[in-house]
Amino acid sequence: MPASRFNGFTNYGIGIGLRQPHYDHILTRKPVCDWFEIISENFMIDGGRPLRILDQILEQYRVVQHGVSMYFGSAEKLNREHLQRLKELVRRTKTPWVSDHLCWGSVDGRYTHDLLPMPYTFEAAKITAQKVREVRDFLEVPVAVENVSSYAEFHVSEMTEWEFLNEVVERADCGILLDVNNIYVSSQNHTFNPFDYVNSIPTDRVAQIHIAGHSKYRKYILDTHDHPVIDPVWKLYERAVQRVGHTATLLEWDDSIPSFQEVHDEAMKANKFLSSSLLAKAV
C-alpha cells in the first residue's frame, strides 16, 4: 500500500534485511539501497558493536524494525522488559512502523524461539488483537503483523488462515506485513490455493511485503530464507502488488547468505512488478 497510516505515511521501495556478513560492504562501499530491515532483537542490547554499526547505518540509510519474539498470539501477557527495550530501539531508529509475526512461541515465561502456528479461532483472534493494540499503544508507532509459514494445523480452527488474519487486523486496526513466500509455503503444506489468500487481503492495510526463498523436502516445505525467490512466489508477489499497489518490499535472506550484491540483485527483481503496478495505476 502506498503511504498510509499503517506504514507511517511513507513510500519506501525495495529493501533488504541487514545481516552481519554485509556490514563491512555496506559501511565501506555505501551501496545504494532504499532501506534496510533489522531484526529488532539483535539490537535490543545495552551497547557494543551491534549498536555502533546500527548507528552508522542510520546515518546513511532508512531502517525499519522487524521483530521475531513479541508473540502477539501467546495466551500469556506481554513481556514488559521486551516492550521497554523495543521502545528504546524504536526511539533510536525512528522506524516508521514495526512488524512482528502472527504467531505464538512462549508459555509460562518459557520461550521456544520459534514462530508457532495459531489455532484459527475467534478466541485467539480476540486475544491476539488486544495484544497488538497494547504493543502499538506502548510503542506509539504503527504495528504490522506478518503471516507465518506453518507446518501444522489445529482441529479447533474455526476459519481459514486468511480469515483469521483479517479478523485480527480488523479487531486490532493494524497493518499487515504480507509475506508471499510464507503464503506459498503454507499453501503447499496445507493444500490450499495461495491466490485465494492473496485475493482476500484487505489491500488498504498492507504496510509491507516480504519475499524470500525456502527449502523443499519430500513431504513438506520449510521456510529457510536460504535460496533465491522461486517463480511461483514471484507470481504471488505480482498478484499482491496488482491488488495493493506500490508497497515497501523486503527480501529476506538469513542462511547461506551470498554477497550483498547478489542479495540486492535478487531483491531488485521486484522492481519489474512494482513498476507494472505504477503503470496500471497511471492508466
Binding site: 532483537e41 535490543m44 542490547i45 545495552d46 551497547g47 557494543g48 558493536r49 551491534p50 549498536l51 555502533r52 519474539s69 513479541m70 498470539g73 501467546s74 495466551a75 500469556e76 513481556n79 522488559e81 521486551h82 505464538w104 508459555v107 509460562d108 515465561g109 518459557r110 520461550y111 521456544t112 524461539h113 520459534d114 508457532l116 489455532p119 479461532t121 478466541e123 485467539a124 486475544i127 507446518y151 501444522a152 494445523e153 489445529f154 482441529h155 479447533v156 503444506n189 496445507h190 493444500t191 513431504k219 513438506y220 520449510l222
Partner: protein, 298 residues
C-alpha cells in the same frame, strides 16, 4: 480446547527431548502415546500424520537451542568433548529452558547449573566452570553497557581517598584456577581454521583441540574481560589489581579498595605506590572508569 490449553499442550511436546536418532519421543509428556497426544490437537494431512507435523516443531526447537549453546560455548565443548557437551546441553535446556526473548541469554544459568551437576565435567569440573564463566563474561562484555568514560585527567583531579570510582558495566572480572583465556583463544583459532577446512583436516584440528585441553595445567589467573573499539579482550591482572578492581565494583571507596588489594599481598611495601599509580593509569587509559550512577543527574 482454548488457546491457553492448546499452547501448553503443544509446548510440552515441542520441549520434549528428541530421541538419540533425533526424532520425536514415542512417549507423550505425562505418559501415554505421543501419536495419540498429537492427534488430539493437530490435524493430519495427506502426507504427514499429526505426530510427524508436531515433530517438525519439536526438532526445530532442539536444533535451534543446541546450536545456540554450541555457538556460545565452544570452550566448554572442547573441554567436555562433542558428545558429552551435546548430552549436557540437552539436560541443561530441560532444566533451564529459555526465559528470555533472546537466545543471547540462554547460557546465563549454565555456570550455576553446572555447579549443581558435577557429573557432566567429572574431574574437569573446575576447568569446566572456569571456561563457562569466561565464555559468559565474553558475551556480557561484547554488548554490555558503556557509560561515558572518566579520563586520566579526571582521575588526577578526583579528590582524596573517599572517592568512589565506578567500573564500566561491560568490564567483567574473573578469578580462575586454570588459564582458560589461552585455552579459549586456542579453541577459537582452531574453530576459525575449520571453517575453511576439508573434513579430513577437521579431524586433525579436532584432535589438536582435544590435546590442547588435555595438556592444560592448573594455574591461578585473574582476568578482566573488556572491550576496546568494540572487540572483546582478555587482560591478565595481578592478584592485587584484581582485588582492587573487585572492591571498586562492590562500591568501596578508593582508599578502602587499595587497602583490600594489598591485604594478602607479598609485594614489597616500597613498590606498592608505584604499582598502584601504573595500574590506575592503565585502567583509565582503557576507559574502565565511569561516573558513579548517583552523580549523573547533577
Amino acid at each position: 480446547m482454548n488457546l491457553d490449553a492448546i499452547q501448553k499442550q503443544m509446548t510440552r511436546a515441542v520441549m520434549t527431548p528428541l530421541t538419540p536418532s533425533e526424532h520425536m519421543q514415542r512417549h507423550a509428556p505425562g505418559g501415554g502415546d505421543m501419536r495419540r497426544y498429537a492427534s488430539k490437537f493437530i490435524k493430519p494431512n495427506d502426507r504427514l500424520t499429526s505426530f510427524e507435523r508436531l515433530e517438525i516443531y519439536n526438532r526445530q526447537y532442539w536444533w535451534r537451542l543446541l546450536s545456540s549453546l554450541q555457538e556460545d560455548f565452544p570452550g566448554l565443548r572442547a573441554v567436555l568433548g562433542d558428545r558429552k557437551f551435546e548430552a549436557m546441553s540437552k539436560a541443561y535446556i530441560v532444566d533451564c529452558p529459555s526465559t528470555s526473548f533472546t537466545l543471547r541469554n540462554l547460557g546465563a544459568k549454565l555456570e550455576g547449573w553446572l555447579r549443581k551437576h558435577p557429573k557432566w565435567a567429572g574431574k574437569q569440573q573446575q576447568l569446566a566452570l572456569d571456561i563457562v564463566r569466561l565464555e559468559w563474561a565474553d558475551i556480557e562484555a561484547f554488548d554490555g553497557k558503556a557509560e561515558p568514560a572518566l579520563q586520566t585527567k579526571d582521575l588526577a583531579t578526583a579528590a582524596g581517598g573517599d572517592i568512589q570510582l565506578q567500573l564500566q558495566p561491560y568490564v567483567r572480572l574473573l578469578d580462575c584456577k586454570y588459564p582458560v583465556d589461552d585455552l579459549l583463544l586456542a579453541v577459537r583459532e582452531t574453530d576459525d581454521d575449520n571453517e575453511v577446512a576439508s573434513n579430513a583436516f577437521s579431524e586433525k584440528k579436532k584432535r589438536r583441540r582435544i590435546r590442547v585441553t588435555a595438556k592444560l595445567k592448573p594455574a591461578e589467573i585473574f582476568l578482566a574481560v573488556h572491550r576496546i573499539d568494540d572487540s572483546v579482550y582478555f587482560r591478565k591482572l595481578a592478584r592485587e589489581e584484581f582485588a582492587i578492581l573487585t572492591s571498586l565494583r562492590h562500591g568501596k571507596t578508593l582508599a578502602r579498595a587499595v587497602d583490600s588489594g594489598f591485604r594478602k599481598s607479598h609485594m614489597p611495601a616500597e613498590k606498592r605506590a608505584e604499582a598502584v599509580q601504573a595500574w590506575f593509569q592503565n585502567w583509565a587509559t582503557l576507559g574502565w572508569f565511569c561516573q558513579p550512577a548517583q552523580k549523573k543527574s547533577t
